[in-house]
Amino acid sequence: MEIPENVKKRLSIPAEEHFYAGHTACQGCGASLGLRYVLKAYGKKTIFAIPACCSTIIAGPWPYSALDANLFHTAFETTGAVISGIEAALKAKGYKVKGEDGIMVVGWAGDGGTADIGLQALSGFLERGHDAVYIMYDNEAYMNTGIQRSGSTPYGAWTTNTPGGKKHFLEKRHKKKVIDIVIAHEIPYAATASIAYPEDFIRKLKKAQKTPGPSFIQLFAPCPTGWRSPTDKSIELARLAVQTAYFPLFEYENGRYKINMPSTKKEPKPIEEFLKLQGRFKYMTKEDIEILQQWVLHEWEKLKKLAEVFG
């Protein structure tokens, strides 16, 4: 559909599409929306590296590709290393990398491929200071292999290897704070983002593009299939995750923290509002919900303090 010029002018998100129709994501997939925004932000002068994850499939089988950009499919745990190698090659060959007119090297990996098996390669990538962007789309479990827990799965969530049952066995660990691990590397730019706030996400992508060195964005990306949620509720869920402070949006830039959302003045919404739309939390007892609520508020206070002191 042709967008009228007057409408185009008002759009803060680039109108061009570089993500083709016909990709193979499930209905309501947050990850596919995220990928679309990344392509909008960076355009086709981009080299993607995607490891084993849902996005491998979303991009389409050979000889098709849903991405209007070059894409190297790689092994599960290698995103950080492969983008390092691509960046090194570009430099050896004299290309401009990153910046407004440079080539964007983008690692696009799931939470499993980032928080767990790929953590070592991610750490190496961050620590060596390559000019590339690593985006972790966080759907809070291994979806591609059929919904198993990852280090990023929250407390109380049902997955196929943390099922709920007679003995009430489910995920007993809080979500691993990958972004904190990333920040510990003291890279120039790291941020959280959400598919419910595309302007914010694209702004962060642009910032990552302009900032030399490694950047990292953790993108909250609901997965109706794995979360047992209605396919038309993904954006709402992503928004609730922010409004409940379950997944606050913030930036870390050269030692400084800045909270983007939710408001630091208002009390976050109760966590139940986020939980109740999803089948994966149905085994949680009242006590479980309280445990999660306390954790969320504790982490939120921590972040607010960081922004206050190091803002």
């Binding site: 080299i47 089988p61 590709s65 190698g85 430099k91």
Partner: protein, 395 residues
């Protein structure tokens, strides 16, 4: 330009590093492991001293990442190099498949070292031979000169057929032993090995494409077949490149199996790598003592030199296969391969497998002489004593 070699006394590892430098590699991503370490240290030194231009050195956090980074670099069009050994190579295993599957002509030096446990840093070929089915070509060097030559030729072969190649040298026997190596002036290396022309590169933005997407049962099979076609093509390319190398620099590598005094031999010793230096020396001694023996050094293990083996086997009564490696539950790996090749031919010499030198156990001229006596007796009797002989076993 007339060829005047530059003679340097270097270790096998330094020979490898110089070859990488002369090949003008653009990305080196590597992780240290004994006895490979001095290869990558030397390359870092080249950079520190400003002896190389446009070389990006990625000091990765593991061998798995070393190969992954080389893969990324090679896919982006660079000439990529790494080196490893034993545990490091084993950790890379998954990515070795990735390199060949994505048709990337990465060259890697592997220093043959025994796998743990028990910990051992000494020579053993099982590490590289365990990577047999990864779609990598494998060149086994006998001495430091062959390490140097092997790296240069491997790049040329790899970039012609779009498959990765491994140059294998033995722990300490070559990696840390100094010897004279004739190096080639840079201009002539450049003539022999021009800049890489990649099959594809991720920097081609006009026609976006993806590498390594899901291959359904409708297509996966053909992808495998194409790798095999490239391996077959590699045999001819190897011979051609080996011949060209000989014409330019005086050392001919056109034979995938180097034959040494085999013309009128009753039986030959067959093996790979540095142990064949010992064997050649022993052949000279045995010849003086009246034994009609020769040596057959398998230079390229992948692709496997079937034709050369058949030609050899037609003309001898016996082959003693010396394996510095073992495939548990079966036999030495070279022995297994060689027997397999000959089954459907009319060449059936008596073949016996001697397992030698595992984990750096010394293997000497005297050992070759003992093996010669044993082989001679077997051939005279026309029957094997044992098929697989754990030669050094303390009994």
């Amino acid at each position: 330009m007339e060829y005047k070699p530059i003679r340097k006394v270097v270790s096998g590892n330094y020979a490898a590093a110089y070859a990488a430098k002369h090949a003008r590699v653009e990305v080196v991503a590597a992780y240290p492991i004994t006895p490979q370490t001095s290869i990558i240290e030397k390359i870092a030194e080249f950079i520190a001293n400003g002896e190389v231009e446009n070389l990006q050195y990625v000091a990765v956090e593991s061998e798995h990442s070393a190969m992954a980074a080389c893969i990324g670099a090679s896919a982006a069009g660079a000439r990529a190099f790494t080196a490893t050994s034993a545990q490091g190579l084993a950790l890379m295993h998954e990515m070795l498949h990735w390199a060949s599957g994505a048709r990337l002509p990465i060259v890697m030096v592997n220093v043959n070292r025994a796998m743990a446990p028990p910990w051992s840093v000494w020579d053993d070929q099982t590490d590289s031979l365990a990577q047999r089915d990864t779609g990598w070509m494998q060149f086994y060097a006998e001495n430091n000169q062959e390490v140097y030559d092997g790296v240069l030729m491997s790049f040329k072969v790899a970039e012609t057929v779009n498959l990765p190649a491994m140059v294998v040298e033995s722990a300490f026997i070559l990696s840390h032993t100094y010897d004279i190596v004739e190096m080639i002036p840079q201009e002539l290396v450049d003539e022999f090995l021009p800049p890489r022309k990649p099959l594809y590169t991720l920097t081609d933005f006009d026609k976006p494409f993806s590498v390594g997407a899901l291959g359904t049962p409708a297509d996966y099979y053909e992808f495998r077949y194409k790798i095999e076609k490239a391996m077959e093509e590699a045999r001819e390319v190897i011979r051609k490149v080996g011949k060209e190398f000989g014409e330019m620099f005086g050392r001919d590598y056109s034979q995938m199996i180097e034959l040494y005094r085999t013309d009128d031999a009753d039986f030959v010793f067959m093996g790979m790598g540095s142990l064949m230096g010992t064997v050649k020396q022993a052949v000279d001694v045995l010849r003086e003592e009246g034994y009609k023996v020769g040596a057959a050094k398998v230079r390229w293990f992948r692709p496997f030199p079937k034709d050369e083996l058949y030609e050899l086997a037609k003309n001898v009564k016996g082959i003693a296969v010396l394996d510095r490696n073992f495939s548990f539950g079966q036999e030495g790996i070279l022995f297994n391969e060689a027997k397999g090749v000959l089954y459907n031919t009319d060449a059936h010499p008596i073949m016996k497998n001697y397992i030698v030198g595992l984990g750096g156990r010394d293997f000497t001229v005297n050992d070759v002489k003992k093996i010669a006596d044993n082989m001679k007796a077997i051939i005279e009797k026309g029957e094997l004593d044992v098929e697989v002989d754990w030669y050094h076993l303390k009994r």
